[in-house]
Symmetry: C2
Subunit: 327 residues, 2 copies
Amino acid sequence: MKDVNGLDIPTFDDVIAAQDRIRPYIHRTPILTSSFLNEMAGCEMFFKCENFQKAGAFKVRGATNAVFGLSDEMAARGVATHSSGNHALSLSYAAGRRGIPCHVVMPRAAPQAKKDAVRGYGGIITECEPSTTSREEVFARVEAETGADFVHPYNDPRVIAGQGTCSLEFMEQMEEHGAPVEMMVAPIGGGGMISGTCLTLSHIAPKVQIIAAEPEQADDAARSFRAGHIIADDAPVTVADGLKVPLKERTWHFVSNHVTDILTASEQEIIDAMRLTWARMKIVMEPSCAVPLAVILRNRDVFAGKRVGVVVTGGNVDLDKLPWMQG
Amino acid sequence: MKDVNGLDIPTFDDVIAAQDRIRPYIHRTPILTSSFLNEMAGCEMFFKCENFQKAGAFKVRGATNAVFGLSDEMAARGVATHSSGNHALSLSYAAGRRGIPCHVVMPRAAPQAKKDAVRGYGGIITECEPSTTSREEVFARVEAETGADFVHPYNDPRVIAGQGTCSLEFMEQMEEHGAPVEMMVAPIGGGGMISGTCLTLSHIAPKVQIIAAEPEQADDAARSFRAGHIIADDAPVTVADGLKVPLKERTWHFVSNHVTDILTASEQEIIDAMRLTWARMKIVMEPSCAVPLAVILRNRDVFAGKRVGVVVTGGNVDLDKLPWMQG
């Protein structure tokens, strides 16, 4: 950890420590390739399949690093977060593996399936009203009553260091695939995965270009990148529901210092790319994970002839409601 | 190859030769595990993901072995088959890699998507009427006119030897997973995959029990197994549409000599297992591939506490028509 203008920013040593710490609890996910998609895109893509990860998403890396980095005394009081997505599942999973409580504050109106999933991993849900005020009030009460350690979904140095293990593992695995990659593409929402990618690659492979992929309809990171400061949108609407949250100061540190570019794709392009991946690669991935492929297909010139790593971030999707079946 | 009562039966040497021959053209597919499904089933399962295979199914192993085993002179005349399923795709793929024609006889009424898929891999379709007589007539004509080599979907020693490379590769990969498996489960239709599995395992791991998994509604192999001779059903109806075809003499040789048991599952159990795998393992698999898991969940006592290999045979499925969304 280092101090950058008063912020605790993780270093590559933290990524190495995280890799050792979380190894017993996570999958070493495979890299898949598709010559059909390569031909279509005009580049050679290597998909790091974190949709096969424990709890169904890369987020388990950061959550597990946070949970297993706690002292026994701290751990005994548990961990807490507010999220209704993959971070809540991941933190519940990690806490369960350590045998400590995980408190999750979720809106009363969140889908039953999401509540069931969190409870399925052992998370303890406290409901709030669907406003930021209520969420913050309820969360503060849970924190005060339990003494649980708050693990933010992305603006937490332990989480960013944990996400950094993904590209570390990827680069190790690429040794079996001939030459290394020249570019790495990952979706960007709050920026946890991209920050971990920046942290690792800027250290071990600084020439690799890092491209963040974002829905056109939730392009706050792209606009922030061009403006030179964080722009946060209020409730953007996109099928890529994992990517609606804004950058925060720690992820902005990495995005502003290490990302090569942020490219966007339309809703239809995202849905088409999602369906294409299901059909040709036979993997179940979330809409958010399809954004990198959508961006690559839209910007063929940027990626032409390159070896490109693609992070498939998660596979938690409602199988009864697939986006190409709606409307 | 050896002669058994006048039949050309492949030997383990043919599997080794096949592995070398097809290596440049196929994927070394990963093994995935799911602690959730293990807990549910009460055994430890290792899923060999042939749904990620080239052309989307294990069938490319046998087809590629047949195509690349041809002399240049034979190859120049091409290959031919009658199938509207994964074998047609696989043979078209393999022929395309060798740069030779692949003739596929298909019913005029076959779904457009299947025709498009075969053509997408370079297959040349000749249409027939939806009767066995018409199919045989048309096929004989195509064979006579082209001199193409007939590659049967499963009752062909080259195909069986090719499918045998799947468990060979699986057993090699299991060295990274601690102990080897004690049981191996694969779906059974015509018996090509099961025969290849028997061929390989009876040679390198004869103690491994081989369980064939079949839909209750297309249980001709199970009934054949108990009767001691081939029973062929006429047009069984099951969601597992890859498993409707009957055993033939070469696959019966392996099934009758090496299979430990054939277990069945109901249509609903197959659909439930399919959905469960999509939801928890994040992989797109065909209904046929879900039959092994369905059988394991139905017969927990048979598999209790065991290490079990499961062949996920293919992932070619209509994404607009998922069985849990119908009726």
